[in-house]
């Protein structure tokens, strides 16, 4: 599902956007610093603060995430479904380590702490072609 070509878009080079919905079906769109590649059919995002996104996911496990490929700024939309939450293991350690490395540069290692890794199954990956050629204003 996740082709090798898409991996650069999952390296946190350009922040991604995730859309979730509340129990009243109110959408919430927020920025996440990285969508991590887990395997060919899974991605993960880090939960540092208990934000609305994670509250929403308790109600509706389905979400949409948009990532940007750093080579050509092409946009990709992934339909994802929350399948598990990890608080230990290889994936959690790797994500935790990256966060610690960045946060410690600004002495924020105690604030930016990974609470958990949210793992999602990827249902579809599509290229957002419309966004590539925005209408020029005259």
């Amino acid at each position: 599902m996740i082709a090798e070509d898409l991996i650069p878009a999952l390296q946190g080079i350009v922040p991604a956007w995730i859309v979730t919905t509340s129990d009243e079906n109110i959408p919430n769109c927020t920025c996440v610093s990285q969508v991590y590649p887990v395997d060919e059919t899974h991605v993960a995002i880090s939960n540092q603060f208990f934000s609305k996104t994670f509250r929403n996911l308790q109600n509706n496990k389905h979400a949409v995430v948009q990532v940007i490929h750093p080579a050509d700024n092409s946009m990709w939309v992934l339909e994802i479904e929350h399948v598990r939450t990890e608080t230990e293991g290889a994936l959690f350690d790797e994500m935790d380590m990256q966060l610690a490395a960045i946060a410690s540069m600004s002495n924020m290692e105690d604030v930016f702490k990974l609470q958990s890794a949210y793992v999602f199954k990827v249902h579809s990956v599509s290229h957002l072609t419309e966004a590539q050629h925005p209408a020029k204003s005259i």
């Binding site: 650069p8 080079i13 350009v14 080579a71 610690a100 490395a101 410690s104 540069m105 600004s106």
Partner: protein, 416 residues
């Protein structure tokens, strides 16, 4: 299926095959490069113990073969990482330190795991904006946007961190991680080797301060590890004895710490003269020096006269500290001596034994009575290759304990 359709399919298949062949060729060429670099680095490691040279060579090679333009090697020193070498950085940053757990390098060191991080600029900005904090200055490539850092480990010991940076956002992939893992194992082994060697060198140096190299050379040994009890050599040598006159009353006016400082100041002034004249110090006995000149008595006489000059300088210096001048006596005698290792298996010492030692000591002892600083025996005068350099002043005969014959003694001054 039509003929055109079939030929189109064959063409497509062929181009797909070609693509796969190209891909395999690329992989093969990369593997060949990897093997080559590993061989080169292995032989570098065997051939050099100088880490600075080794790091420089390894980083140049990695740049040349794999395009890792900006690298740093940091060493673990007292739970801090110090930049030991850098390649491709405008500001080399040598000597800068990174605390454990700080930044990419510090985190890799703390967790002992490789890390590949992209989009560093965006991520840093995100934390800084959110936290409103400035980043600490850490050694890094200006505008670094991608980084791989790998812990350098030997068994369970962290010896350092190897890091590669790039100003491009997406510079490294899993293959880069692989090659760095292989190379870093070798680098870690090299650091471990070199530090073991340095430790050994330091030990040898410390040893040579206790057992002089010249003494070992006299015994025909290169290192203290080759010496054994009963090693010995007999040869004609010159012994120089010197002592501070009336040191006991002087030392009574000083605290033990002051005495130590004073003696070390005095020995620090005098002892180098011995070395400069081809001799070595066999031992210190309190403030006394017993030195051996294996080559010629002339060197011992020159050293004795130089010590007199140094004493004058020493006295000028201590006068400024309000201390009275000291006087010393020096006795020099030449004759057969045995240099060797004495003691028992658990506690050995290198020393010289012979009548000659007693005589030199006795001559030093009578300098006070004869009102001279330097006293030499007749044998010394006779054995001088060129006695025209000095003026010898006969001061009669001196009896030496255990010797039937008295020794003719001379005061010495330089011929002006």
């Amino acid at each position: 299926m039509s003929e055109t359709g079939l030929s189109h399919e064959i063409k497509q298949q062929m181009s797909e095959n070609q693509r796969q062949i190209d891909q395999l060729n690329d992989q093969l060429s990369r593997k060949t490069d990897e093997i080559k670099i590993i061989q080169t680095i292995s032989s570098e490691i065997l051939n050099t113990l100088d880490l600075e040279v080794l790091f420089g060579n390894i980083m140049s090679l990695m740049h040349e073969v794999f395009g890792f333009e900006h690298c740093m090697i940091l060493l673990n020193e007292d739970e801090q990482l110090r930049v030991a070498a850098s390649h491709g950085h405008e500001d080399q940053g040598i000597g800068m330190t990174v605390p454990m757990g700080k930044g990419v390098i510090g985190t890799v060191a703390q967790r002992r795991k490789i890390m590949r991080m992209m989009g560093l600029r965006t991520r840093r900005r995100y934390v800084q904006r959110t936290a409103g904090a400035d980043a600490d200055a850490l050694p890094s490539l200006k505008d670094a946007d991608s980084q791989i850092a790998i812990p350098l480990q030997v068994k369970d010991k962290l010896v350092g961190v190897y890091t590669v940076e790039s100003d491009k956002a997406n510079a490294f992939d899993a293959l880069d991680e692989e090659i760095l893992t292989i190379v870093s194992n070798q680098v870690a082994a090299a650091i471990d080797n070199a530090s073991a060697y340095n430790e050994l060198q330091k030990l040898a140096e410390a040893n040579s301060r206790f057992v002089p190299r010249q003494f070992l050379r006299l015994l025909g040994k290169e290192s203290i590890t080759e010496t054994e009890l009963d090693d010995q050599i007999e040869s004609a040598m010159t012994v120089l004895f010197s002592d501070i006159r009336d040191f006991t009353p002087l030392s009574e006016s000083m605290s033990p710490a002051e005495t130590f400082a004073f003696v070390n100041d005095y020995l620090g002034t005098m002892a180098p003269v011995i070395r400069e004249h081809g001799g070595f110090i066999d031992k210190y006995i309190g403030d006394a020096i017993m030195a051996i000149f294996p080559n010629s008595p002339g060197e011992a006489v020159a050293a004795g006269l130089k010590m007199e000059q140094h004493l004058a300088l020493f006295n000028t210096r201590t006068a400024e500290q309000g201390r009275p001048p000291i006087r010393i006596g020096i006795g020099i005698h030449t004759g057969p001596l045995v240099a060797g290792i004495v003691g028992f298996a658990e506690r050995l010492e290198g020393t010289v034994i012979g009548d000659c030692v007693n005589t030199a000591s006795r001559l030093e002892g009578v300098t006070k009575e004869l009102s001279v600083t330097l006293l030499v025996s007749e044998t010394v005068v006779n054995e001088l290759a060129d006695e025209s350099e000095y003026v010898f002043n006969s001061l009669g005969e001196v009896a030496v304990k255990g010797k039937a014959q008295k020794v003719q003694v001379f005061g010495v001054t330089e011929r002006l």
